[in-house]
Every structure is written in structure tokens, then in C-alpha cells.
Point group: none
Chain length 205, copies 4
DNA sequence: CATGAATGAGTGTTCATTCAT
DNA sequence: TATGAATGAACACTCATTCAT
């Protein structure tokens, strides 16, 4: 005789764990850093032996790359959305700042890895990630440039420096944000959006 | 027979070696990351066999800790200097922003390590670094708070969020700055100082 | 509904599959060597997942053993045939040399494995293969001995050394022979048969 | 107090073991085959931990390559020596056959590895070994060709087939020879030299 | 001081084999 | 039959650290 619980248990034992593996890797890489985390750590987080992980991945680097693949698409979506708004440039920038911050906060571990561990990719995959980051940068620079052309930016603002500044501020989010903190993500995203706009328009009037 | 000059020379070499090791470690840890860099890498950079390194260090972590010790003092000096200025809060903030950015740029590798690798310290040393970072944060928050109290900040500015935002923007510097780039450090520091101030005062009048 | 033809087809496929596995293993073991080849490699060559292979084999070693079983019978047939000829010993030797070389060339992969990988068998199976090789050797030695007794061999010929020498030369065939080469197997077999005879009779006059 | 024995023991513990490692590898690779032998096996044979081996080698393949480097030189020396003799071609061939067989027998393990495991080299090292083997082959073919041109070979002898035949017979030596056998290497070498000559001149009359 | 041999625990990865589905 | 998830032991290799010389 086989109980329902046993059947369910067996099902759990043998189900496809691709997604589990990815999520475990995100948690582990975020916590320990990619270089310090071992495949063993990830396997333990999933609840299998480390050898078993290789049914789902080709290599440790492959695992890192998959985390990035998942993230890259979202980046571009946000940029497209913010660029396409029918508003004044400064409001488009604020909108982008808010949705970007919000997405960062909702994917804080993944983004933290994206921001710091891309250097551990090699070859083609590295070139792809670098290119995505550059696209991202140049699109943000474009938004800021439009604000400046509209005469709404601080007069002596350097677009490139502002881009790097804002980029850095955003990438810093995963370092201090704790989901369990008292502040809801919406509130932080609003504050960050305002600060991004402030950085660009400054005391200009 | 050994001449006095030779003895003096040896002494100088010995004194320098310890410093050489520290500087080699900074270069290597910055380039490869602490976790990915090996003691072998550092030894090669120094030009010595890895076993010999242990005459100068106790452990790999000890090497990391020394990089931080060297940096921590400077941080506090800058803060003291900026806090002590006899100026309006907003100008004290700008001054701090400029000198901090400038110091970051002049110690780009060391700061890059400071910003990203502190997690690899353990025990007492970790607590010390965390405390220094917190002090640094709360002093910056203090500066921003004074600006706000003086009625010069954006009306709905959240001091904590602004602190994190600026902190992140600064920590992002080592990621993109290349010493060989066309921009002199002074120019970047000025731009960053202005952007820091902008973030805080915003469209305020 | 399933037609009779389909059932028959399935039957044929099933029967063939086991043979497919054996032939795939021969190709793979010849190309990579038994120790370096993986069960995965064999499975890919068959076009099936590696877990499925275990419906046809008991273990990797079992697969190797089957290759030998298939070969052993042929060896003995050749020897019987050559021994049974009603000719002068030297012609019986030449005949054996020709048919053996020819069979080697026609089964070049299988023979290559037979010659080099028998050491990877264990236990009873190893003893069997060793015994077959010894039988083969002693029968060849017998043939050479008859040539000597007939007074047709080089006067100071050592029968054992000649046997090893010829055995080695034959086992070397799979190392250099390429099916795609310009020489037909018949021509090579004739040349080898003559060289075998030469080795034994030498400059005898 | 430290006894002489202890000092000697320590010396043994810490001496340079490069040669030991090479010899252990030769024994182990000969016995188990390169692919089946593990670095652990070699380490045990040396009497150190496997990690310690990497002070002396770069990789397992490197260890194999070194065995070959040691052998390649001797091959060429023998060929040069035999080619340079001031004798009839057939005696030069006999001389080569004798010294080559003798050297094989004196280096039986090394040669066994050379003959069978060169396929496990990759890249430049593989190309080098292949080239050496080809040189070796073509020089032996040259010797045989000279015998033929002098009219002393079997009339329909194919030089290439004879080369492969002899090459194979020699490479077979490590398979059966046991140093502990009753036959001295000199006797075997003489017999092989005669058989090599027989193969070429055959029943020529 | 510097060397380099040695350690021992650890890394990422492979693989023959099992078995519930 | 065929699948593919899972195992567990082994593999080649790395590395921080120690220490006799």
C-alpha cells in the first residue's frame, strides 16, 4: 500500500528542478559571492548532491550566465517603457527611475549578482553582458541628454558623469536594502526617482 | 664584510618589502577580486615565492585587513575636515563630496576593494570595518541632516535614502573610472560634488 | 490498432538494437579507447539515452566482453582451416597468414580493441580471453614448428620469438590501416602472408 | 640530539623527487594504462599526497609528455648510429634491428607507453610525437629501401608494408617481454634482428 | 630572510549505475 | 522499452598554510 503522502514525496524527489537550481544559485551567489560560493553550497541549498546539479547545468559559469539571461530582458523592457512615454523628458526620467528602482528592489538578489559578478563570465557571454550594460548606460544617458536639451537640467551638468553617478546609486541598492526592512519598495522607488531627477536638474530654475 | 651602506640599504629594502606586499595585494585584489586571487598571484606580483610571503603576513585575510586599516584613517580625516569647515551646511556637504570623490579617485584600487570585499573579513576585523562604514554613513547622514535643518534641502527629502544613494554613487566610481581616461580627477570630483549637492537640495530654491 | 507488419518491424528493431549497441561500442571503443570512452559516448552513438543502454547490457565491462566473444570464434575457425589444409607446412603458414591478415583488415576496429583492451577485463572473463590468446599463440607456434621440422625454416630460428614477432606485426595492423587507404585488403593480406613466411624461412637456401 | 639516521630520513622526505615522479609514472602508466591510471596512483607509488605531485608536474598530460621527451632522443640516436655504419645495407638493417630491439627491452615500460599512449597527447605535443614517429618510420623505410636497391631484398617486397610489419613486431615487444623471463635481452635482440632481416630479404635467392 | 617541498582540505566536474515513472 | 533524475565515488587540479633547510 502506498499512501498519498508517499506518492507526493516521490513526486518531489524526482521532479524537474531546473527552476529550483536557478533560484538556489541566486540566493547562494548573492550571499557568498560567486567566487566564494561552491557548487556544493548550491547543491545543499537545492537539497541534492553536487554531482546531481550537472543534470541541470553545464558548469558553474553556465549557472551564472543563466541568472543574467533572465535579467537582461527585463532591463530592456523597462527602458523601452520609459522611453516611450508621452511626457516631458524630466518626467520620463523620473518614471524610468521609479520603475527601475522598483524592479531592482523586487529582484534584489539577482540584481546584486548582475551588478558585481559579471566579471566572472568569459568569452562570448561576457561580451554579451558588457554590451547590454553599455546599451543600458547609453539609453540612460540619452534620457538625461533630452532633459538637458529641454533646458531643464543643471546648466553645467556633464551627461556622462550624471549617468555614472545614477548608475552607481542604483547598483548600490542591493548592498543595503533588506526586504524585511520597514520601508515598502514603492516608497524607496519614489524617493530614488526623485533623487535621480534632483541629480540632473539640481537647483536649476 | 658588510658595509654600513649595505646594511642601510637592506634595512630600506626590508621596510619597503612589507609595503611592496601591500601594494601588490591591492593591485591583485582589485584586478581579480579577493576570492579569486591567490596568494600565489600576490607573490608573483611582488616577485617572490609564495612561501616567502608569510614572513610579511599572517594569512590572506590579514592582507585584506591591512588594506582596510590603511584606508580607514583617511576616511575619518576627510569627514573631520569637512565637518569642521566654517561654512553653510550645503557648502560643507559640497566640500566633503569633492574631497571624498577626489580621494576615491586617487586611491581607486584600494577603494574598490574597500567597497566590495569587506564581506570577506571575519570576526573582530569584520565588526570593525562594519562599524567604520556605519560611522561614515551616519556622519554623511549628519551633514545631509544639517542641510535639511537649514531649510536648504528638497522639502520631502528622506535623509537615509539620500545617504544610501550618495554612498552608492561614490562606491560606483572605481567601477568605471580609468586613470588613463581623458578627465582629470579634479574635474570629476567637482562634478560629483555638485551632483551630490543636487541630490540633496533638488529643485529647491 | 497495430498491424502484424508493425509488430514484426518492432521485433526486428528490438533484435537489431542489441546489435546496434555492440557495433556502436566497437566504433566508440576503437576511436577513444575503452578506458577513455564513456557509456554516454556509446549511448550517443546508438541514439539513445545512457540510462536506456542498461536494458541491453549489464555493465561497461560486459559490453567489452561481448566484443571479444564475437571475435574469439572467428580466430579459432581460421586456425582450424589453416591447420587442416593438405599442403606443405610453409604453405599452410602462408595460408594462415593471409586469411588472418585479411580477417584483421575486415574487422579492423574489433581487432584493434581485442589487441589492446583485453587488460580491462577482470575475473573469469579475463582468464578466458587470456586462454584464447594463448591457444592462438600456441597454434601459431605449432605451425611454425612444423615448418622448422620440415627443414624449411631458417636454421637458428627460435619458434617462440618468431611467434611473438609475427603476433606483434599482426596486432600492429589496426594501428596504421585506414579503410580508406588506396590498398585493397587482399593486397595487404598477400604481402603480410609473404612477410610472415619470410620471417620464418629467412635467407634459407 | 639528532641521529644520523634521522637526518638521512629528513633528507629523504624533502629531497627533489622529479626523477622519482617520472619513474613512478612510467611504472604506473605501463601497468594500468594512462587513461585508467590516476594521479593518485602515481602519488602513492612515489609516497606523497596527490596534491604534492603538482610541484613537479603541470598536469597529468604533462607527465605523459615528459616520458616521451626522454624517449624521443634515444630513438634518433639509434637511427643515426645504424645509418652511419660503413657496411652493406642488409647489415646496417640488422644492426639497427638489434640495437633498437635491445633498447626497447632495456626500456620496456617506457617504450610500451610510447607505443600505445601517444594518442592521449593533445595539441602541439601530439603533433611533435606524431612527427617523431613518422620520421622514425621513414628512416626505417629508407634502410629497407637501400636493401632493396642493393638487390638483396625479396623481389616483390613492398617497402611500406615491410616497414609497418617490422614496426608492429617491435611495438609488440613490451606486451610479452618480462624482464624476469629466462631469456637475456641480448639473445632476444639478436633473434629479432635476424627476423627483421628475414622479413626483408625473405627466401631471396 | 628566502626557498621550495609537502600537506590536507577543498574545488569543479565526470561517470557508471540505479530506478521510479 | 525508454526516460531522465539521482546517486556516490572518483577524478584532475588548486590553494592557503607550514616548516626544514
Amino acid at each position: 500500500m502506498v499512501t498519498t503522502a508517499e506518492v507526493r514525496e516521490r513526486g518531489r524527489q524526482r521532479r524537474n528542478r531546473s527552476q529550483d537550481v536557478l533560484e538556489a544559485a541566486i540566493r547562494v551567489f548573492h550571499k557568498k559571492g560567486y567566487a566564494s560560493a561552491s557548487i556544493q553550497d548550491v547543491a545543499e541549498e537545492v537539497g541534492v548532491l553536487k554531482g546531481s546539479l550537472y543534470h541541470y547545468i553545464d558548469s558553474k559559469e553556465d549557472l551564472l550566465a543563466r541568472i543574467f539571461e533572465d535579467s537582461a530582458g527585463h532591463f530592456m523592457e523597462m527602458l523601452d517603457e520609459a522611453s516611450g512615454l508621452d511626457e516631458r523628458p524630466v518626467e520620463r526620467l523620473r518614471s524610468f527611475g521609479r520603475s527601475c528602482s522598483f524592479w531592482y528592489l523586487r529582484n534584489i538578489e539577482r540584481v546584486g549578482i548582475y551588478a558585481t559578478e559579471w566579471k566572472h563570465l568569459t568569452g562570448k557571454r561576457r561580451r554579451e553582458v558588457v554590451q547590454i550594460r553599455e546599451t543600458y548606460e547609453s539609453r540612460l544617458a540619452g534620457l538625461i541628454g533630452e532633459v538637458k536639451e529641454a533646458g531643464e537640467a543643471a546648466p553645467d551638468l556633464d551627461v556622462n558623469f550624471a549617468t555614472y553617478f545614477i548608475f552607481g546609486a542604483l547598483d548600490g541598492l542591493p548592498d543595503w536594502y533588506r526586504r524585511r526592512g520597514p520601508d515598502p519598495a514603492e516608497k524607496i522607488a519614489d524617493a530614488y526617482a526623485d533623487q535621480i531627477v534632483n541629480t540632473v536638474i539640481g537647483g536649476a530654475r
